[in-house]
Symmetry: C2
Subunit: 141 residues, 2 copies
DNA sequence: GATGGGGGTTCCCATGATGGGAAGGTCAAG
DNA sequence: CTTGACCTTCCCATCATGGGAACCCCCATC
C-alpha cells in the first residue's frame, strides 16, 4: 500500500504520516524499489491508533508513550490509566479556563447596549477604566 | 520609561512588547538617542488593554480590531459587542470540545482496572478493537 | 514509443503566541 | 575605568498541520 492509500485507510493525511515518521513517532516505513513508502495493515492500524488518540486530545509526545505501551505485552494497565487520567485533568482544566473566559466576556457583553452609541463597557473593562466611573458596579462580578 | 519598566508596569513581557510592535499591533515606539524604546502612560495603557484582552482569550488579530475600536471615538458599541459575542461562541465551542474529550476519556479510564495486568480498554479503544470483544458494550458510552 | 496524469519524493515556509539565548551597545554607580 | 543591569537585533524552538515547488515513477492510452 502506498502512502496515499494508507492515508485514506487510516484517516491520517499523507503529509502527517511523513511527519510522524520524521519526528520518530513511527518507525521508518519500508520502501519499494522506486523509493515509495510501503505500508501494510499493521502500519494502518498504528495510524488509526494515532488518529483516535489525537481526537482525544493527546499530544504526539503522549501518543508516543501510549504507542510504546500498546506494543508492550508486559505493560501494566495502571500506567496507561495514569497517563489517561493525567490527560483528562489537563483537558478539564483547559475547558474550565475557556468556560471562565467565556462567562466573564458574556457577562461583560450583556452590559453593553450594542447600538450606535460609542459607550461600551467591554472596552472600558479592557482598558481597565471600569472603576473610574461612578456608575460602574464592578470589574468582573 | 524604558521597555523593562513598561513591561513591569503593564504585565506584558519586554519580549512580547517588541513582538506586538513587530507584528503591527502597536505603532513603533519612539526612541531615545541611545536607540532604546521610550514609553509613556498611553503606551502602558494600551499594553494593559492587550494583556486583559489576551486573558479573555482574544487573538492578536481580534485585539487589533478592538484597539482600533477603542481609539475610535465615533465607534458603535454594536461592533464591539458583535466581536465579543463571536469570541464567546468560539470559546464555548472549544470548551465543549475539550469537555467532550475529557468525558469520553474519563469514561474509558473508568473501565480500566489500572493494576499490574496488561488488559486495558483504553488501549483497545485507541486501537479500534473494542467491538471485536464480545464483552465490550460499546465504543464510546 | 511517446505522452499525460495522478501518484510519489524531499525541502522550505507559514501558522500563533511565546520564550530562550547569543552578540553587542548604553548607561549609571562604584 | 570597570562592572552590572539594561537595552538592541537576530535566530531558533515550541506544537500540529498544511501549502507549494521542483522533481521522480508508474501506468494507461494514443
Amino acid at each position: 500500500m502506498r502512502i496515499g492509500e494508507a492515508a485514506s485507510a487510516s484517516g491520517v493525511s499523507a503529509k502527517m504520516i511523513r511527519h510522524y515518521e520524521a519526528v520518530g513517532l513511527l518507525p521508518a516505513a519500508s520502501r519499494r524499489a522506486s523509493g515509495y513508502r510501503d505500508y501494510g495493515e499493521a502500519e494502518v492500524h498504528a495510524l488509526r491508533f494515532i488518529r483516535r488518540a489525537r481526537e482525544l486530545g493527546f499530544s504526539l509526545h503522549e501518543i508516543a508513550a501510549l504507542l510504546a505501551l500498546w506494543g508492550d505485552r508486559a505493560r501494566a494497565s495502571a500506567e496507561v490509566k495514569r497517563l489517561a487520567l493525567a490527560h483528562v485533568e489537563a483537558l478539564e482544566r483547559k475547558a474550565r479556563d475557556l468556560s471562565a473566559m467565556a462567562a466573564t466576556l458574556r457577562h461583560l457583553a450583556s452590559t453593553c447596549h450594542g447600538d450606535a452609541r460609542p459607550e461600551c463597557p467591554i472596552l472600558e473593562d479592557l482598558a481597565g477604566e471600569a472603576l473610574s466611573k461612578p456608575n460602574a458596579l464592578g470589574n468582573v462580578i
